[in-house]
């Protein structure tokens, strides 16, 4: 390393501090995130100061208000043209305020709101010692089955911390897709991951499974984020900066002021490629793409169902948002390197998810695998690398998230003595006992299967169309085949519900409070609206299809 370089380094360090000017933050444009995170902090304070009895109401109130406000803010920004004309990079290059981020933030906030309703549901579990309880542990710290737990239950404790945790997670998710430099990306990743790890561990029933899910999710998540971080490091090494724009320029070759000495000491394309790959891998883990999917079924099964629903929906949205931005803004120059690889990933994800799902016997695991298959479909759209690709993915995500939350909300309703009856055999003849619930669930399944007149079909069509336009015809064919395979197991469930005789000691269907009803109703509504009259939302996604650079 040359002396000059050393000298310059020292002098830079010796610059007087006064040169650093105060950062300029556009609070208005970051308001959605700020509102949510602020509310989360309020929630923490509530936990600290509000008496136990009224915490639940306070928390729910704050969260609902916050999320509504956040959504309003998103709408306002979009209306203000920040999604299209005024799209730009805010917070000194840390956050991009543009179409995709606003669309995704809107989706996430809404999904979060619906998820919140399922969190707040307290009618399903039979009242313990006269106080109504939700699906979260009375006292997470208490050992399952121990006296302390008994006491906690008797005292009617509930883990109201879930609400701030949820808000934190949402906050992180709001930043994730709009992060405009790798550091923000990483921090956001952790900010929404850590609360989720905790939430997974908080189930009221089947706590062992819940804790196991949390451990697996946490260890694997941390493992993956380590890769992400190393990837970031390498990219930083390659470009000398972590800002998307900067890296993109270096990749394009528009900027070449990387230290030439450095350039020839190591093949920095290797840095770029390896770093990119590891970074992408971290995101693929979050979206649950094969072969980084293996946490999904276990975690989905073990986590409290409301958490599963929220996680399945919102995490996918956020992660795909980030992936899109990464691939479209940072690495478009590498298109020809990553496209084939992503092809492969998409293909094995679609097929793997669909095939393994065939033999599942637990409804939550089934949905988990189905979500993997869907990740594959969405990847097909991501690969299109066209404006259509972006908007189709956005549309798909919007539709998919609500169907997912709705589906898991239905799962919370079907219960027997041991809590939720998630084993498929128990769903036999559900259609006879309570046709309405069965019908609703059937609608969700059909949407998953992509039957016309449901959001699933519109989304699938949009994605495949974009892919085919992008010349990925084989991908479309595989997608079609795997949706055929997938159809098989969705239909299996429907058969089970409607055509098989109800078991005498089968589960009962709990009558939920309006909260869950809203969640489910929302799911049905979105399914049908996006299925029958998707044009408005397609337009929305279409306008939102451009990233700011």
């Amino acid at each position: 390393m040359s002396a000059a370089a050393v000298h310059s380094l020292w002098t830079t360090a010796a610059e007087p501090i006064s040169k650093i000017d105060a950062p300029k933050i556009e609070y208005g444009q970051l308001s959605p995130t700020l509102i949510v995170v602020g509310a989360a902090l309020v929630g923490v304070l509530i936990e600290a100061f509000v008496p136990r009895k009224s915490r639940y109401y306070a928390q729910v109130f704050v969260s609902v208000v916050a999320l509504c406000a956040a959504f309003a803010a998103v709408v306002a920004l979009a209306a203000g043209g920040y999604g299209t004309t005024k799209a730009h990079v805010a917070a000194m290059g840390a956050i991009a305020v543009d179409g995709p981020s606003l669309f995704l933030q809107g989706t996430i906030v809404l999904a979060g709101l619906v998820g919140l309703f399922t969190f707040a549901e307290r009618r399903l579990d039979p009242a313990a010692h006269g106080n109504r309880v939700d699906s979260f542990a009375a006292q997470a710290a208490a050992v399952p089955g121990s006296d302390s737990e008994q006491a906690a239950v008797k005292a009617g404790f509930t883990t109201t911390e879930v609400f701030p945790l949820l808000l934190f997670a949402i906050g992180g998710m709001l930043i994730f897709p709009s992060a405009n430099d790798l550091l923000t990306l990483f921090v956001a990743l952790e900010v929404f991951s850590l609360p989720l790890y905790l939430l997974c561990a908080l189930a009221r029933r089947k706590r062992l499974m819940s804790q196991e899910a949390a451990v697996k999710y946490f260890l694997l998540g941390a493992f993956a984020s380590a890769f992400t971080l190393f990837g970031i490091a390498l990219l930083y090494g390659y470009a000398g900066s972590v800002s998307y724009a900067r890296i993109a320029q270096v990749v394009d070759g528009t900027v070449t002021d990387v230290d030439p000495a450095l350039a020839n000491t190591m093949g920095n394309d290797a840095l770029l490629l390896i770093g990119g790959a590891m970074l992408v891998m971290g995101l693929l883990f979050k979206v649950g793409a094969v072969p980084f999917h293996m946490w999904t079924p276990d975690v989905y099964q073990g986590a409290p169902t409301p958490v599963t629903g929220f996680m399945a929906a919102a995490t996918k949205v956020a992660a795909f948002g980030a992936l899109l931005r990464l691939l479209y803004v940072v690495l478009p120059g590498l298109r020809w390197d990553w496209r084939p690889v992503m092809w492969a990933v998409a293909i094995i994800t679609m097929l793997g998810g669909a095939i393994v799902a065939i033999t599942q016997t637990d409804i939550k695991r089934l949905l988990a695998y189905s979500s993997i298959a869907h990740a594959g479909f969405i990847l097909a759209g991501v690969i299109a690398t066209s404006k259509d690709g972006v908007s189709s993915v956005l549309f798909y995500l919007a539709g998919y998230s609500f169907v997912t939350i709705g589906a898991f909300a239905v799962v919370t309703l079907v219960r027997d003595a041991g809590g939720e009856a998630t084993h498929l055999s128990k769903w036999a003849g559900l259609g006879r006992r309570s046709p309405l619930v069965a019908a609703v669930f059937a609608i969700f399944l059909l949407a998953f299967a992509g039957i016309p007149l449901t959001s699933g079909f519109a989304g699938k069509f949009a994605v495949f169309k974009a892919a085919a336009d992008g010349g990925a015809v084989p991908l479309v064919v595989v997608g079609v085949i795997s949706s055929a395979i997938a159809a098989f197991f969705y239909i299996r469930v429907i058969v089970l519900m409607f055509f098989s005789e109800p078991k005498p000691e089968g589960p009962t269907v709990a009558v939920p409070s309006p909260l869950t009803m809203i969640a489910i109703g929302m799911g049905v509504a979105v399914t049908l609206v996006l299925g029958v009259a998707p044009q408005y939302f397609l337009d929305l996604a279409g306008q939102a299809g451009v990233f700011v650079r």
Partner: protein, 99 residues
């Protein structure tokens, strides 16, 4: 000394950490290995920032430490509760859910 060597070291540490995650049973140890990987990243960041002659990397390193700390909090909470439930911190014991 050529800072590139630090990178090699970082890569090495990272690999060691990853390997540890793959082969060790005790959740705590696994977790430590992950921390090791994070530290490897930090080393890389610092090394790169020195090469590029800008401070981004070093700042990122601080961020990473904070994040890692937060991770420790959450992680230990989870692992400890698991341990108290099962009286074992082996990740292999936690395999109720499979197939």
């Amino acid at each position: 000394m050529n800072p590139v060597n630090y990178l090699y070291l970082a890569a090495l540490l990272f690999t060691i950490g990853a390997t540890g995650v793959l082969i060790r049973r005790n959740a705590i140890v696994v977790f430590m290995c992950i921390e090791l990987m994070l530290n490897a990243c930090n080393l890389a960041f610092v090394a790169f920032s020195r090469m590029h002659g800008n401070l981004d990397g070093q700042i990122i390193a601080f961020f990473t430490m904070v994040v890692a700390a937060a991770e420790v909090v959450v992680g230990l909470a989870i692992i400890v509760s698991l341990f108290r439930t099962r009286h074992s911190a082996s990740v292999d014991d936690a395999s109720l859910m499979k197939l």
